[in-house]
């Protein structure tokens, strides 16, 4: 079990700056992030994009901002659990929080700081009536093991790289039948993947259905067929064993939504006095929180992190008087 003072959920800019501010108060931090590297969206989505509203930096690349935040946090030796999603939270007999990831790593801390940004990225589910009844009964949003589809009739939806790549892979001797359904005529994937799909379609290994969308799912218990609406034709029934809609990922609050926190519009409600949630000891900072006047800006998250650790300190050491430290006086002393 990993023990720390402040367990930070989310290793984006806000979570990383929390390590620094907490370190000034001699509080240790550990961060959990579902992504394999720190930096959150800045690293994962737009590392090469300049940010113009970080004070004192007229322009800084998102990736560079993350590098600097890591450097700033380094003296305080943060711990990281990366590539794991914080799944379950419990409180033990001493009132400490126990957070377990989806891989089973257990963390213990008196304070939780949720700095989860947009949340976890989850597969986008198409709006098809009754779809949920067939999840894992023929409908999968991610292909984990292609062998699962051996000898099966598979319908794949989507026009991006993953739809193209999996159609090719499954068509080359894995599935018995591959149908690729795409809303438009053009595909936006890599040109060689597009060509490969067209080649496989020409020899009948992939059945290509364009200007079409799967709008119905049918089956008694398990999936037996999908209904595909084709422009100018109407709904065509396609018998199949699996339908794999591959429409990319979208951010979702994820398991945090079930932590009994007050949520409004996909964000966690906080008190702006110290960014505390409705559960004492759990705070939420950065893009994941909401309050009257909230602005989703990195610099606002930095401010929230700073005030939050003051409150966290008082919860951990109610008997100690907190003195605001000016780093200009004594510099920064790490652990």
């Amino acid at each position: 079990m990993i023990s720390t003072d402040i367990l930070i959920i989310g290793a984006g800019p806000c979570g990383l700056f929390t390590v620094f501010e907490a370190g000034l108060l001699k509080l240790r931090c550990h961060l959990i992030d579902a992504l394999p590297q720190p930096g959150g969206q800045c690293s994962e989505i737009y590392p090469k994009k300049p940010i113009y509203d970080i004070p004192a930096y007229p322009s800084i690349l998102a990736g560079e901002l993350v590098d600097r935040l890591m450097e700033q946090a380094e003296p305080f030796k943060p711990g990281f659990t990366l590539g794991e999603r914080a799944e379950v939270i419990e409180q033990d007999a001493e009132g400490q929080f126990i957070v377990t990831t989806h891989r089973g790593t257990v963390h213990r801390a008196p304070i939780i700081a949720i700095a989860g940004g947009l949340g976890c990225f989850e597969p986008r589910k198409p709006p098809v009536a009754g779809l949920e009844h067939f999840e894992d009964r023929g409908v999968e949003y991610i292909i984990r093991d292609p062998e699962f589809y051996r000898g099966k009739r598979v319908v794949i939806s989507g026009g991006g790289d993953s739809a193209l790549d999996w159609s090719i892979f499954l068509a080359e001797g894995v599935a018995s039948e591959v149908t690729l359904v795409h809303r438009r005529e053009e595909f936006r994937g890599h040109l060689d993947s597009v060509q490969k799909v067209l080649d496989l379609a020409a020899v009948g290994r992939i059945r290509l259905v364009t200007n079409a969308e799967v709008t119905e799912v049918h089956g008694d218990g398990a999936l037996e067929a999908v209904g595909c609406e084709i422009a100018g034709e109407g709904v065509r029934r396609m018998e199949c064993d699996h339908w794999v809609p591959l429409f990319g990922l979208s951010p979702k609050l994820g398991p945090i939504a079930d932590w009994n926190l007050n949520i409004s519009k996909n964000s966690i409600e906080v008190d702006t006095f110290d960014y505390s949630t409705n559960i004492p000891g759990i705070y939420a900072i950065g893009d994941i929180n909401t309050y009257p006047g909230k602005l989703k800006l990195i610099l606002c998250g930095f401010h929230e992190a700073t005030l939050m650790v003051q409150s966290a300190f008082k919860r951990i050491y109610p008997e100690k008087n907190l003195v605001l430290k000016y780093t200009t006086v004594n510099g920064v002393t790490g652990f």
Partner: protein, 107 residues
């Protein structure tokens, strides 16, 4: 030139809202809708990555073509129609004056 333009946004209940927006602040339709507290999420913050600001253009207003990232996102979004656009990619310019859009269903 007056830096303010007027656009009409029809919400998901069918009610039309007249919005006034500045053309000199680098704003887009997603931000304008949010500033009027219309139910537009703008989850990704305007990077054409979530489609939560999808809207349908109902006027003949000449608009710039969809960019590559907008096309890519709309390719993965749902409820997409030929007149779909991402609000975050429609920058408020004088040409948008008189624009009428309808909010797409929540995905």
């Amino acid at each position: 030139m007056d830096p303010l333009i007027r656009v009409t946004v029809i919400d998901r209940e069918g009610a039309a809202h007249e919005l006034e927006g500045p053309t000199d602040m680098g704003m887009n339709m997603m931000e304008l809708c949010k500033s009027y507290e219309l139910p537009v999420e703008g989850t990704c913050g305007g990077m054409a990555m979530c489609a939560s600001c999808q809207l349908y253009v109902e006027s003949e207003t000449p608009l710039p073509d969809r960019g590559a990232s907008e096309e890519e996102m709309l390719d993965q979004a749902f409820h997409v129609k030929p007149n779909s656009r991402l609000g975050c990619q429609l920058h408020l310019t004088p040409e948008l004056h008189g624009l009428v859009v309808r909010l797409a269903p929540e995905a």
